[in-house]
């Protein structure tokens, strides 16, 4: 345990630690200080931060651009939901089924791509194709009620049931907060490990990495599978929080794009990029919603336009994302490469 802590704490400046602890404390007390609506906003932020972190493992660390990540969340959600609605199996057990399935799905995509040399943008297109294929497939799958949607029974309980994930927004908030913290720690540990070094080498220059003895195929597969498994939890959370699943929503390319916006805006490959990106994005979206409500106009699609513009601005002006630019300005050195 001590060595684990050492690996996390290793070479991070004191200032950053204090900042992190303060941030965590703020997150923990937040629900007691704000209303329920803002709690759900924070849940969305943390959800985006979590999935962004999971995607980051594949892209930021190992350099593989996936634009179909919704497939893993969708599979996770459906598996846990089906196990719950049909067999009464709780979500935490459902997660134990969802993660291997998602990892396996990632393994298939990864194997097909890496064995046949499908890389870069073509790999991205392949991931999109798989996600779309799954979306249409589930739309016709009666076992999960196809396009009519799968609904989870909602009962009004007087208490929170953590085991079955039934309860107040506040309970869900702490669950996603814990998950995001775990994801952060996981990424830190991975980055400082042998696997992390190999991933970075592959990202930087796959041929040179191979010449230095890195088993590139194997480690790219690990990146895809781990990323997929971590993402699947988000799907389980989604299913039990919103209590409904539609293939059209869950596997939609918009979900995949939302997942990548956080890390890209915040900083690909950095540890805090996804969280910062999620904050900026959701903050802007909520501001937009509030502005529209105040002006009495309702424009469906305005939020997406905002997302598109954010992505455009970041790529044009701050291609590495907000975090690297910010840390240079503030003199904080992010220990992640």
């Amino acid at each position: 345990m001590a060595s684990l802590f050492a690996r996390i704490a290793d070479d991070t400046p004191r200032r950053v630690w204090i900042l992190l602890v303060a941030l965590l404390a703020a997150f923990i007390v937040a629900p007691w200080l704000i209303n329920d609506y803002l709690v759900t906003v924070l849940i969305v932020i943390l959800y985006l931060a979590y999935t962004g972190q999971a995607w980051n493992i594949m892209m930021g660390f190992a350099g593989q651009l996936s634009l179909g990540h919704a497939i893993y969340a969708g599979l996770g959600g459906y598996i846990a939901a089906v196990l719950f609605t049909r067999y009464g199996i709780g979500p935490w057990i459902g997660l134990l089924a969802a993660m291997p399935v998602a990892a396996f799905c990632g393994a298939i995509i990864g194997f097909l791509a890496f064995r046949f040399g499908v890389a870069g943008v073509y790999f991205a297109i392949l991931t999109i194709a798989f996600a779309e294929f799954t979306r249409i497939g589930f739309d016709h799958l009666d076992f999960v009620h196809a396009s009519s949607g799968l609904f989870l029974p909602v009962k009004q309980l007087s208490h929170n049931d953590l085991w079955l994930l039934r309860g107040s927004p506040r309970m869900f908030y702490y669950v996603i907060l814990a998950a995001t913290v775990v994801a952060f720690v996981l990424c830190r540990v991975l980055l400082n490990s042998r696997m992390g070094y190999f991933w970075l080498a592959i990202r930087e220059d796959e041929r040179a990495a191979s010449a230095a003895g890195v088993p590139t195929f194997r480690y790219k597969m690990y990146a895809v599978m781990i990323s997929a498994a971590v993402t699947s939890f988000a799907g389980v959370f989604y299913a039990f929080f919103y209590n409904n699943l539609f293939p059209e929503q869950v596997f939609n390319i918009s979900r995949s794009i939302e997942m990548i916006l956080g890390p890209i805006i915040g900083g690909i490959g950095t540890l805090f990029g996804p969280i910062i990106g999620a904050f900026v994005l959701t903050g802007l979206a909520e501001t937009l919603n509030a502005a529209m409500a105040a002006l009495g106009i309702d424009l469906p699609g305005a939020k997406q336009v905002l997302y598109g513009v954010c992505l455009l601005v970041v790529i044009v002006a701050l291609p590495e994302g907000i975090l690297p630019w910010l840390s240079r300005r503030l003199g904080l050195d992010e220990s992640a490469s």
Partner: protein
């Protein structure tokens, strides 16, 4: 001395162009072996086949008694063959230290141990003070030394250097030569190098192979080879060294 590397009648064709034609030679363990020849002679193609970046069409390549032709490059590296690239390829966004740690992690699973070995290597190659600098900010000579350090970190028995002196000034060339000689002397590392810089070849190599148009035209001690009429005509000209 036993032959560490045995290349037997190796050929490579690219759609009608024969890049390497039935090349055979042996590299004794612990030796410093140079491959020279005009541009387009097939030297880098030969290297790529030994290092596993491509498979030969014909022939065998034996390393330490085992066939390695056709193996992928990471497998070849694990067997004990490390290489550098003609156009330097460090990991640009990683620090000097992290670059070499990647190599060291091949033989040492613990990052801490890999870091210690890396530091020793960086000291040796005079890069220790720059260990926290990002690789893309280094000068060319430093980047070349970094690539050598990373290759050495994999603890190879055979080191393939592809025009490692290219672009270096004479003082830097001498420095690199001295470093390589030192490593060869102390650890018995076998070095196979492609070189155009004859100053380095004469100072370093114990044995030279000359390729022209994919074919071996001479092999032997450096002094003999540079006087060989065929070599003089096809490559060196009469004013070299």
């Amino acid at each position: 001395m036993t032959a560490l590397l045995k290349v037997e009648r190796v050929s490579k064709r690219f759609r009608g162009l024969v890049a390497v034609d039935q090349v055979s030679f042996e590299v004794p363990e612990g030796s410093l072996f140079a491959v020279i020849g005009p541009n387009g002679a097939g030297k880098t193609t030969l290297f790529n086949m030994i290092a596993g970046a491509m498979a030969p069409n014909d022939g065998t390549i034996n390393f330490a008694g085992e066939p390695i032709q056709g193996l992928p490059s990471d497998a070849v590296c694990r067997r004990g063959v490390a290489r550098t690239f003609q156009i330097v390829r460090p990991f640009p966004a990683l620090t000097v230290e992290d670059n070499v740690i990647v190599g060291a992690l091949l033989r040492h699973r613990e990052v801490g141990v890999a870091r210690e070995r890396t530091h020793a290597l960086l000291q040796r190659l005079d890069l220790f003070d720059k260990r926290r600098r990002v690789a893309s900010t280094l000068t060319l000579p430093d980047r070349k030394r970094l690539e050598v350090a990373r290759a050495l970190a994999t603890e190879p028995r055979l080191l393939l250097l592809d025009e490692v002196m290219a672009g270096l000034r004479p003082t830097e060339t001498d420095r690199m030569v001295a470093t390589l000689r030192g490593i060869n002397r102390e650890t018995g590392l076998t070095i196979l190098l492609i070189e155009h810089v004859m100053r380095a070849v004469m100072a370093l190599a114990g044995r030279v192979l000359v390729l022209d148009h994919g074919v071996v035209i001479a092999e032997g001690a450096p002094e003999t080879v540079v006087r060989d009429p065929a070599v003089v005509q096809s490559y060196l000209g009469t004013e070299t060294v």
